[in-house]
Structures are given as C-alpha cells and as structure tokens.
C-alpha cells in the first residue's frame, strides 16, 4: 500500500488547518454561505436532511486494517456508532457536528487519510477495480496510476472550480468492475505494441438524470503521457463546459453537444500543446509509487487446499459462502474474499464501529492487513489463503458478517434516499431491506444466480439504478412514492443503460412486481442462463410484461 512521505503528510495537515480557519471565518460571517459551500464540499462536508454528512476518501478503494480501525473509532466517537460505504468507494458519516469536523480530519490525517475532494465541482476521489493487484484477469495493477492521479488532482490550481463534479475510474483487468464507461473519464490499462503499458481512455460517461455511455477518446495513451492527456481533457472541459445550467454542466453534455469528433480533435490539439517536462519525468514518480504496490511475498501453495475441501464437506453453510463470496486470485492457493454488507434486513453499505474493527482484525489475521471497498458497497479481503478461509468465515460469522450473497439478488445497491438525503423524492433503504428479506432464502438466491438490483431515491441516480439488471427509481407522484423499474442495465464492459418498463409501482407493490419477474425468469430460463442472458434472449417487452402480470 502507498505510504505518505513527509510531503504528503504536510500537505494533508495544512489542508486541515486551512479548513479549520475557513470554518472559523464562516462562523464570523467573513465567508458567506455561497462562498463557504465549495470550500466545505471540497473537504467532504455536505449538508444533508437532518445534519452535516462527512464523506471520507478511500483512494482507489484500498485501505489498511489500521485505517479501517480508525474509521470505526471515528464512527464511535463523533457519530452514532456506524458509517456508510458508498458506490464510489468512500465512507460517509451521517451525524458529525460542524465544530468537530476539523478534529475528525486530524484523526484521519493520523492514519494517512483525508476527505479532500470527495464532494464539490472538482476532480473527485479516484476509484478503481476493488480486486486491483490481485485479480486473476488483470494485466497490471492500476493503483499506482490511481495514486499519481490522486496527488496530481489534489488542490489543483486550475481544476478546482470546474463546471461540475468530475469522476475518474480505473481498471487494469479485462472484466470491468470499476464502471469506467459511466465515468467522466474511464481508464482501462492495455498492452500496446511491444508490451508497453498504457491506457485506453474513455470520457463522457455518466448516470444521473441524463445517463450516457462514455465515448472512447483514444485507444492508447502510454502511461508516461497519461497525466498530460488527462490535463488536456480537463482544460477543454473547464474552458467550454456549460455553466448556465447545472443539469447540463457535466462533461458528457459537452461531448454530446460538441460531437465526439470535435471533442477528440480539441483534446488532441491541447495535448500536443502541453510540453513534456524533461526535468520531471512522470516515469520516475510512477516508479517510486509502484514500489509501494509491489506484490507481497506470496507463499508457494498448492492450487487446491485440502483443509478447505474438508471444511466445505463438513459445513454446507461455509461451502456456500466460499462458492458465492470468493473470487479468483492471481496467486495459486490464495483467494479474494468478499465481506457482504447486505445482511438480511440491513441497510446496504452500513457498518458499525464494532463491525469495522472485526473486519480490520480479519484483515490483520488473514489478508495481509489490507482491505478494499467495492462499488457494490461491500468490503473485500484481497489476499486470503484458501486454507485460512474457514477460520476467516468463522470469525465473520460470529460477527454477523458472513452473508453469502455477493452479486446475488440480495446484494442490493442502494443510495441513502429519503432517510438521509435532502434531494430524495422517495425512500430507497426500506425497499432494499424488503428485497433482502423477500429473497433471503440462500438456496433460492443461488438458483436465481447473479443479478444486480440497484435503487436510487431520485433521478440523480446515486444508487446507479440505470445499470442494474433491475433498476428501481423512487419518485414522488401526487404525494405518494412511486417506483419506476428499468431493466437490462449493465455497468461492465458490455455497458448498457436500463430501459424503462412502464408505469411505476407503489412502495407496497414494487417488491411483489420484482418477485413476479424473477419467477417468470426462473420458469423461462434455459439451462445455465443468467437473468441477463434470459433478458436478452426473450427481449425487453416480454420481460417487462412479467412485472405487470397480475395487473
């Protein structure tokens, strides 16, 4: 993992004391609310429905056991004993007091963390494949580039007051688990001629009220040129992005209105103008960062663990958890384990201080002290020996953290909705809870197979409903909540935006409708088909009719 040097530390500490001063000046009135807002947002502080909310960055989704423990301590000390992991690999604390925030930021700085640029119209915390560095299907670890981008975008003098927020996601793998085609900039590591590493660059993707799949701006940018290329995109956007209407201010609209060809040409022209800095080769800094991400010393282990096989035979619940919640690791005898934060009836992504400590202990004991946060709002232990899985599962199970549902129907992604968010038009958490209860039966869940249900509490789409196999959007219709369902969305390399199904459902009817659809799918699926495959074979109109079957 990356470790701060004296300069990173000084930078973060100075930002904290700068913010302390800004809070004081807001309280004296030297800064009015309009002036203070972008400053507090750039330090992660939102004004929610009932209170302030502090969003803490977990750069490229990687954190240490030590850091996780500190998040737990902050939840207990300054909040109501829990935190909420988000689809953008951040953690949100829902109840901090404004006066405590500078102290929280200091506590974060103690463990090399911050809340810089988790909100506001600036370059946001960079996200990445949660399995980066360990996935079996990876070309190379994208996190060194993620760290380079984190540093480069921090307090950027030119790009801190953009037309709108700006999100960058990275992956180094063949499968896209970082949703890169729905980001302002999406970067995919590829091998160029002669094995040289570089990035395929996508831009202009996004969800929100105008969902769009990004366009490919360039097939290949060598890693050493990447910062200059991103700078060129940012400069074109900062100069030309719309500022007259906040709903048209994202880069996707600029690209859409300008046309992909013109946009590309302008970026290329700007890129050509930005000179190489011979005194500061990016390669040198990248090499320094890369050393922090060198693969750990893996033991030479047999690909199959006998102990694991035995434990699975003896304990079917454990066997199910292994089947559902582990993923292929690049080193033989190791595995990637997903800790689901979607227990039956729980709030998706929430974890208590105690749970954070258990996960930290689990990482220390079984995952080389490292954890990840995924876009599915789960926690990942990236380096677990297959032979340790049983002990790990027992530890998680005792803490209620062993739900076997990763990527299954009850692994619901949901935004906070009306329970917290000032912009919400409907509740989303209760719908998520009802789904996890309705489909709690583990055998049924496995039978249904992989499926993504995603819920947003308003058209801003923080719950990514556009890219769910089943997307649920909560709206308000004549005083009552109405839930609109979209089908066929896909956040991966085969990106697709879900199609609307028809009239919405009341809160009491939406989970029934989903259940009808699931039963229809189970009845009509062919051997081994996933929900997505059946959807594509039968087509949207057949599938959507199943939602309304009893109407």
């Amino acid at each position: 993992m990356y470790r701060y040097d004296e300069f990173d530390t000084q930078f973060v500490r100075e930002r904290v004391s700068q913010f302390r001063g800004q809070v004081e000046r807001r309280l004296t009135g030297a800064l009015n609310e309009d002036e203070f807002r972008p400053l507090r947002l750039m330090n992660g502080l939102y004004l929610q429905l009932h209170a302030y909310m502090l969003r803490v960055a977990i750069p490229y989704g990687t954190l240490s056991a030590h850091q996780m423990r500190q998040l737990g301590a902050i939840a207990d000390k300054y909040d109501r004993g829990y935190g909420h992991f988000t689809t953008r690999q951040n953690i949100q604390f829902n109840w901090p007091k404004l006066k405590d925030v500078p102290d929280i930021l200091d506590d974060l700085a103690d463990v090399e963390m911050h809340a810089i640029q988790t909100s506001g119209n600036c370059i946001r915390n960079v996200t990445a494949d949660p399995y980066a560095g360990v996935a079996a299907d990876e070309i190379a670890d994208p996190r060194p580039t993620g760290e380079l981008l984190r540093q480069w975008s921090s307090n950027h003098p030119e790009f801190s007051f953009l037309p709108r927020k700006f999100k960058i996601a990275l992956t180094g793998a063949r499968a896209d688990r970082a949703v890169i085609k729905f980001h302002d900039i999406g970067l995919r590591l590829v091998e160029g001629e002669g094995g040289q590493l570089g990035y395929e660059v996508w831009a202009g993707g996004g969800l929100g009220r105008t969902p769009m799949i990004g366009i490919k701006v360039r097939d290949f940018v060598p890693t050493a040129d990447l910062l200059r290329y991103v700078e060129a995109i940012m400069r074109v956007y900062n100069a030309e992005g719309r500022r007259d209407n906040k709903y048209k201010a994202r880069i996707k609209i600029l690209i859409h209105e300008k046309g992909g060809e013109d946009f590309r040409a302008e970026v290329e022209q700007e890129f050509a103008r930005i000179a190489h800095d011979p005194a500061a080769p990016v390669e040198k800094e990248l090499a320094r960062i890369q050393a922090f991400f060198a693969p750990p010393a893996y033991e030479a282990l047999p690909a199959e663990s006998e102990a694991l096989a035995k434990a699975k035979l003896a304990n079917p619940n454990f066997a199910r958890w292994v089947r559902v919640n582990t993923r292929a690791h690049k080193a033989p005898g190791y595995t990637i384990a997903v800790i689901s934060l979607k227990p039956k009836g729980g709030v998706p992504g929430d974890a208590t201080g105690d749970e954070m400590r258990v996960m930290a202990d689990a990482a220390d004991a079984y995952s080389m002290s490292e954890l990840r946060v995924s876009a599915e709002q789960n926690i990942v232990l990236p380096n677990v020996k297959a032979s340790d899985l049983f002990a790990l599962w027992q530890m998680l199970d005792r803490a209620g953290l062993a739900s076997s549902n990763a990527e299954l129907i009850s692994d619901v992604v949901s935004c906070p909705g009306m329970d917290y968010c000032a912009l919400a038009t409907a509740r989303s958490i209760p719908i998520a809870q009802e789904i996890t209860e309705r489909f709690a039966e583990p055998v049924l869940q496995e039978q249904i197979g992989p499926i993504r249900i995603k819920i947003s509490g308003c058209i801003n789409a923080c719950g990514h409903h556009h890219v769910g196999d089943i997307g649920i959007l909560g709206l308000e219709k004549t005083g009552a909540e109405a839930y609109q369902i979209t089908l066929g969305g896909d956040p991966t390399e085969s990106a697709a935006i879900g199609e609307r199904s028809g009239p919405g459902f009341p809160a009491e009817g939406v989970v029934d409708a989903i259940e009808r659809l699931i039963h229809f799918y189970l009845g009509r699926r062919e051997d081994g088909e996933t929900f997505k495959q059946t959807y594509h074979r039968l087509g949207h109109s057949v599938m959507k009719d199943a939602l309304y079957a009893s109407h």
Binding site: S17, Q18, G21, N32, N155, P157, F159, F161, R243
Partner: protein, 167 residues
C-alpha cells in the same frame, strides 16, 4: 475597486476609459477586447500603457499577436465558483504572455493561491467583499498552503521537486 497584490491592498493606477471620451495624458488604460483593434495602436503611440479586459469565453490565442504591446490582461470571475479564468490564465502564460495578469470580480481569499499559481499577479474585488475579507485574510490565505503536487504552476514549493531533492 480594491486591488490585491502580494497579499496587500494597493492603489490601482489603471482606469477603464469611457468610449468616445478623450484619455487623460499618460493614463494607463484598460480597453474591452472589442475596442483593442480600433484604438490600441493610437493610444500606445500617444504614450499610454494599454491593457485589455476579455470575457471568459475569449480564446487566449486571439491575444497572442498583442502580447508585446499589452501591459495588462484582465480576466473576469463572474462568480467565485466559475473557474474558467484559471484555465485562461494558464493558457496565456503558456502561450508566453509575460505582462501583468489580473483576476477581476468575485474571487475569494481562499482562491488566492490557486490564482497566483495559474499566473495571476493581481486580484480586483468589490468594496463589499473587501469589507468582509480585509487585507489580513489575503495575507493569511497566501500562507495557508505551502506545497503543491502539480508541476508547471507557481509559486508554491513543488512536492515532486522537493521529494527528488530529498532522495
């Protein structure tokens, strides 16, 4: 309107001449970009220092032919949240403009270091804003951050440079 230079409030010796009225001899004059072509050459000949005030959708490259003759370029900030001026300044400096660069409008003390890093020398704000954010705020803001990660921007100490020097 108060003018800030090096963290201090200073007198502004530039003025914006009203179209059609004769200029006071020796005055330093800021013209709107649209008037530059027609009026600048004569004024410079008559011994005036000439600056230009652009709008924030002006292409910086359009000013390039004027760089040698302009002593000041004024870039507007209609709202503190509108950061287009930062990119305009960066482009002007990279195109080779060496004269004074001024940010004018709504820019708060907390953006002062960013503005200077992008190449601005001076900041011009409203009287009302200056009353809320007096000189000490600007001086303090100048020292809030001492380090920057980005290369190619001034004047903060560059972290990459410092890092490599320490190795």
């Amino acid at each position: 309107m108060p003018l800030i230079k090096d963290g201090h409030f200073v007198a502004d010796d530039w003025s914006r001449p009203v179209e059609g009225e004769p200029a006071v001899a020796g005055a330093k004059l800021i013209l709107a970009f649209a008037r530059l072509e027609a009026e600048a050459s004569d004024l410079i000949e008559a011994g005036h220092a000439v600056g230009v005030e652009i709008t924030n959708d002006t292409d910086p490259a359009a000013l390039e032919p004027w760089f040698d003759r302009l002593a000041l370029i004024v870039v507007p900030f209609p709202r503190a949240a509108d950061g287009r001026g930062f990119s305009i300044a960066t482009r002007l400096r990279r195109l080779g403009y060496r004269g004074e660069l001024r940010a004018s409008g709504h820019l708060i003390a907390d953006q002062y270091t960013l503005a200077r890093s992008c190449g601005f020398d001076t900041v011009e704000i409203s009287d009302a804003q200056a009353a809320r954010q007096p000189e000490p705020h600007w001086l303090e803001a100048e020292h809030a951050m001492s380090l920057a990660y980005q290369r190619g921007y001034g004047p903060l100490r560059n972290i990459l440079g410092a890092r490599w020097a320490a190795q």
